[in-house]
Structure formats: structure tokens, C-alpha cells
């Protein structure tokens, strides 16, 4: 991805063009840099969890329950004596992993179907858009909870629930940009020139319409992680013994009168992660914006 800018004319009368590449624009966007660094840092720490966690997240230490930070347990222990630091690290791994993987299907399916109906239009377009409207008529959490309630809790329930609902935004976004792109002169030129339609779609249209979805994917990851964590809190998400920030907060809620750390720590971790991804998404929007 690059943008050209004419910056002058040389002696032969030829235009001098400066091509600003993706990375040079990325370097100039503070949001992208901060978001990128924060997210990378968090991912790195979680990746190194086996090294950084000094205890196993499942080991019970019954001599030290609900303690605050100590030298043995950097962030203290929970109500069953498990090390908070380790649980935060491993919980983060699972939550983020599930979050990122879960958006893949909606992203791919949504973009595909959005491009298709945007390009083809007609009855198919109307029908799919009605389906989109129906999905959007349900409050987000209500639908997810209802789906998980019927399908069953746990990872596969989460995948199915989001697979059925999350694709709609991508479909809508892609559809609008495809419709705009479809009417551009350069597309008509390509089609008239004999380029087969599928190739026009793949090589010409999609690279232009996909940027909005890529930007949205970042905030969607945050949304999904938050939803996974919320489901965990409600007992409908990842099932024990997988450590999960939401479940940790849920378990800790009963003890807030004596020790608030168990509730606060995973929340702060989640906050940092969410901020990192959101900033990255904003930065990406800055960088991908047409000059």
C-alpha cells in the first residue's frame, strides 16, 4: 500500500513523485506507534508466560489464601491459593487466543458475503441485508447469551455464537465500499477490457474495500475478548480449569469485602489489553486513510 504525491518538476519536465509507503506513514502516526508497542508488549509477555510465571496457575497453595502481593506471589493469591500473576498470564493467553481466533470466521465470511452482495446486488442483496437487520435487532449480549445458552457453554459455544452473529458488520462495511467501487470508471474499464469478473473482484475491488474491515477487526477483537470475559464472569464462557479473566473476577466478587485484588487485577490487565488493541486500530485507521 503506498500513496503518491507530486512534489515538483525536474528539469526535463517530468513530475517528481514521492511514494510514502505503509511503514513511513505508520511511523508518523503516534496512535499507531503507541498502540502497536503496547499490544506487542502485552502479546510478548503473554507469549513468555511459561518463563515469566513462577508458579503453575492451577497449583493450590492452601497456606496462603487471598493474600496481597508478596515476594513469593507478586500479585498475591486467590481464594484457593492459586498464584494471581500466573493466572493473569495464562488467563490472558486463553482469552486473547480465543478472541483473535473467534473473529477470523466472521471477518472472512463477512467480507466474502459483503463483496458478493455488493457486487451482484439484486434479490440476494436484499435478502442478506434483511438477515443482517434481524441480527442487529437483537441486543448484542442478549443474542450471544441466548445462543450460548442453547448451544452450550465453552469454547465451541463461543465460536458458534460469534460465527453466527459477528459477520454482519463486516458484510455491511464491505458491501458499501464494494457498491461504491463497482461504480467506479476504472472497474468498468477493466471489465470492458476483458478481465473476468472474479479477477476484477479479487485483484481490483477487494484490496480497496478491505481496509475498513481491517480497521474494524481491531475493535472487534476487543469486543470479542470483552464478551468472552463477560461470559466467563457469568459462568457461560471458557469452562474451568482453563484460567480466564472473567471467571477470576467472578470468583473474586464474593470476597470484595476483604480483598479487592482478585477482582481488580484481571480487570486492569484487560483494560491495558483493550487500550492497546483500540489504539492500534485507531492508528491503523490513520495510516490506511486515503491521502
Amino acid at each position: 500500500m503506498s500513496a503518491e504525491a507530486v512534489i515538483g518538476v525536474d528539469d526535463a519536465g517530468e513530475s517528481i513523485v514521492a511514494r510514502s509507503s505503509f511503514w513511513s506513514r505508520a511511523r508518523r502516526s503516534p496512535t499507531f506507534l503507541v498502540g502497536g508497542s503496547l499490544t506487542s508488549l502485552i502479546l510478548l509477555i503473554l507469549f513468555l508466560a511459561p518463563v515469566l510465571a513462577r508458579h503453575n496457575p492451577d497449583t493450590l497453595n492452601l497456606t496462603s489464601l487471598l493474600s496481597g502481593p508478596t515476594s513469593q506471589h507478586w500479585l498475591g493469591t486467590d481464594d484457593l491459593g492459586r498464584d494471581e500473576w500466573a493466572r493473569v498470564l495464562y488467563g490472558g493467553r486463553t482469552d486473547i487466543e480465543v478472541g483473535v481466533v473467534t473473529v477470523l470466521f466472521p471477518l472472512i465470511f463477512g467480507v466474502a458475503i459483503g463483496t458478493f452482495i455488493g457486487y451482484v446486488g439484486g434479490v440476494v442483496d436484499t435478502i442478506v441485508m434483511r438477515v443482517v437487520d434481524v441480527v442487529l435487532a437483537f441486543p448484542f449480549y442478549v443474542l450471544i447469551i441466548a445462543l450460548v445458552a442453547f448451544i452450550g457453554a465453552g469454547v465451541h459455544g463461543i465460536f458458534l455464537a460469534f460465527g453466527l452473529t459477528d459477520w454482519v458488520v463486516y458484510a455491511r462495511l464491505t458491501r458499501s465500499s464494494t457498491i461504491v467501487a463497482r461504480h467506479q470508471d476504472w472497474v468498468a474499464a477493466a471489465v470492458n477490457g476483458g478481465v473476468p469478473r472474479w479477477r476484477v473482484l479479487l485483484r481490483h475491488i477487494i484490496p480497496n474495500t478491505i481496509s475498513q474491515s481491517l480497521v474494524y477487526v481491531m475493535s472487534d477483537i476487543v469486543l470479542v475478548i470483552l464478551a468472552v470475559v463477560t461470559l466467563g464472569y457469568l459462568g457461560l464462557g471458557l469452562q474451568p480449569p482453563s484460567p480466564d479473566w472473567g471467571a477470576m473476577i467472578g470468583e473474586g466478587q464474593a470476597y470484595i469485602f476483604t480483598n479487592q485484588w482478585q477482582v481488580l487485577i484481571p480487570g486492569i490487565a484487560l483494560l491495558l489489553t483493550g487500550t492497546g488493541f483500540s489504539l492500534l486500530g485507531d492508528g491503523l485507521a490513520d495510516v490506511l486513510r486515503p491521502q
Binding site: V142, F150, G152, S219, G274, S278
Partner: protein, 302 residues
């Protein structure tokens, strides 16, 4: 209007929810130790032995008579279960909506009119920060600060009497409002910036009108139009958020009913409550469409 196919779609989807259960729903409800006779009885009670179109007809028929079936756990009509709880949830949503308007509109206006100045950056930074915060955690934190530490509000429960309940709802409503504030502020700000930069504002200022008149009659009047739609969409999201908030603050509303019913495998209740929530959203969007039509002469039907 497009509300009708959406309504139809919502009804169909809610109906189909029950079919998502892997295996036999009746068996899911009663557990693996249930006797085949009990399972059969429940299957017949739920109408699951009928062909699917007859089941759907029965469902529709029930809807027309305001009958959402019977709760397996509570042994009473779903509708009555909903009726006793909908007041509390409704009050929560209303209060939360009011809070969100009070919080977000001034902040968005501040950010838009002081574009790129420190206050704009501050507002945007805070709302960015808030995007990563889970609602339920925010609720717990608010409860810790304002309930545990400051003793201003009860940490949970819904109080008694009108004022007691209102008092108990303040923290949950604030939590719900703050949950949608980041997104709402950002979108409102963009909408306002669009209006502020419009040529007709330049025309108005060029006329020599006083600043306050330009702001009130030209800026606000136009900024209201996209804002109403944005608020409606976010209130829809807020309605969904109350399910979790009721759990955090131990409020006996529709959300708690739904969540408890999940544990009880009480499918008819879950279906019924989901439908009610969706209907509420459709109503909110309809109202906002009507308001927008009043405000925007371009939208009105000739």
C-alpha cells in the same frame, strides 16, 4: 417500512433458538438421569414431537395471544414472569439512557468545539481508554468505590419502595451509561464536527449573527439529527448490557431471569425474554426514526 420484515425475522430466529440445542431439548432440561417417560412427557408439552411448521404455527398463535409458553422451572406462564420483572429493567434502562445523554452530549460538544485543543485530546483519550473496559468489571469497581468505601450507595440489591429502588438503581444505571459512553462520545463528536464544518454554518456566521444564535439554531438543530439515531443505536446496545449489570448488582430484573433460566435449562423463558429484548430494540429504533422525521425535513414523506 423495513421494521416488519425485521420483526418477522426476529420472531423466526427466536423460534429457531430451541432447535440449536444439540440433542433432545427435553433431555437437556431434565438431565441425563431422567426417565424416558418424563422426557417424553416434556417433549409433548413443549410440542417438540410435532412437525416443525405446526410448531411454528403454535408459536405464532401463542404470540398473538400474548402467550409465550410456560416456564418449566417456575411452572407459571412466561409472560407473567416477565411482567413482574420488566418494570425494574425498564427503570434501569430509562435511568441509564438519561445518564448517557447527560454525560456524553456535553463532552462530545466540548471536544468538537475545541477540536485539537487539550480538552479534545483529553476527552478522546478517556473514551479510548474506556473502550477496553468490561461493563461488569466497571460495575464491581463502582460498587467498591461508591458502595464499600464511600457508603453512598448499596453494593447490591434493589432497595425497597420507590425512592429506595431509585437510589439502588443509580450505580447500575451509571455503570451502563459509562459503558456506552466511549463509543457514543466518539460518534457524537464526529457528527458535530461534520455540522460545524458545514458551509451553511459559514453562511450563517457571515450574515453577522450572534454566536449563540448560530450555535443554537444552526449547529444544534442540525447536530440533533444524526445524534438521535446514534443515541437510539447505543441505547439498543445498552439494553443488552443491562443483562450483565443486573447480575453484578443483584437486581431482580429480566436479565437475572434470563441468566437464572440458563442455569435451570428453562428454554421457554430464555426464548421469551430474548424476544422481549429484541422487541424493545425495535421499538426504540422506530421511535428514533419518527423523531428524526420530525427533525429533518429531507426525510419526511411527501
Amino acid at each position: 417500512m423495513s421494521a416488519i420484515p425485521v420483526l418477522a425475522g426476529v420472531i423466526i430466529v427466536t423460534f429457531l433458538l430451541l432447535r440449536l440445542v444439540p440433542g433432545n431439548p427435553a433431555r437437556e432440561v431434565l438431565g441425563i438421569h431422567a426417565s424416558p417417560r418424563a422426557v417424553d412427557a416434556l417433549t409433548r408439552q413443549l410440542g417438540l414431537d410435532q412437525p416443525i411448521w405446526r410448531q411454528f404455527w403454535r408459536y405464532l398463535d401463542g404470540l398473538f395471544h400474548a402467550n409465550l409458553g410456560d416456564s418449566i422451572y417456575y411452572h407459571s406462564p412466561v409472560v407473567s414472569l416477565i411482567a413482574t420483572r420488566i418494570g425494574l429493567t425498564g427503570a434501569l434502562v430509562a435511568l441509564a439512557s438519561a445518564f448517557s445523554v447527560i454525560i456524553t452530549v456535553p463532552l462530545a460538544a466540548l471536544a468538537a468545539t475545541h477540536q485539537n485543543r487539550p480538552s479534545d485530546h483529553a476527552v478522546r483519550a478517556v473514551s479510548l481508554f474506556g473502550l477496553g473496559m468490561p461493563t461488569f468489571w466497571l460495575g464491581i469497581v463502582l460498587g467498591i468505590i461508591f458502595g464499600l468505601r464511600l457508603h453512598w450507595f448499596p453494593v447490591g440489591g434493589q432497595g425497597s419502595g420507590f425512592w429506595g429502588t431509585l437510589h439502588a438503581l443509580i450505580l447500575p444505571a451509571l455503570c451502563a451509561a459509562l459503558a456506552i459512553a466511549p463509543v457514543l462520545i466518539r460518534s457524537l463528536r464526529v457528527g458535530m464536527l461534520d455540522v460545524l464544518g458545514a458551509d451553511y454554518i459559514a453562511t450563517a456566521r457571515a450574515k453577522g449573527l450572534r454566536r449563540w444564535r448560530v450555535t443554537l439554531v444552526h449547529v444544534v438543530r442540525n447536530a440533533l439529527i444524526p445524534s438521535v439515531t446514534l443515541l437510539a443505536v447505543n441505547i439498543a446496545y445498552l439494553i443488552g448490557g443491562t443483562v450483565v449489570i443486573e447480575q453484578v448488582f443483584d437486581l431482580n430484573g429480566l436479565g437475572t431471569l434470563m441468566l437464572n433460566s440458563i442455569g435451570n435449562r428453562d428454554f421457554p423463558v430464555i426464548q421469551g425474554v430474548t424476544l422481549v429484548y429484541a422487541l424493545a430494540v425495535i421499538v426504540v429504533i422506530l421511535i428514533s426514526d419518527l423523531v428524526t422525521a420530525r427533525l429533518d425535513p429531507r426525510v419526511r414523506l411527501r
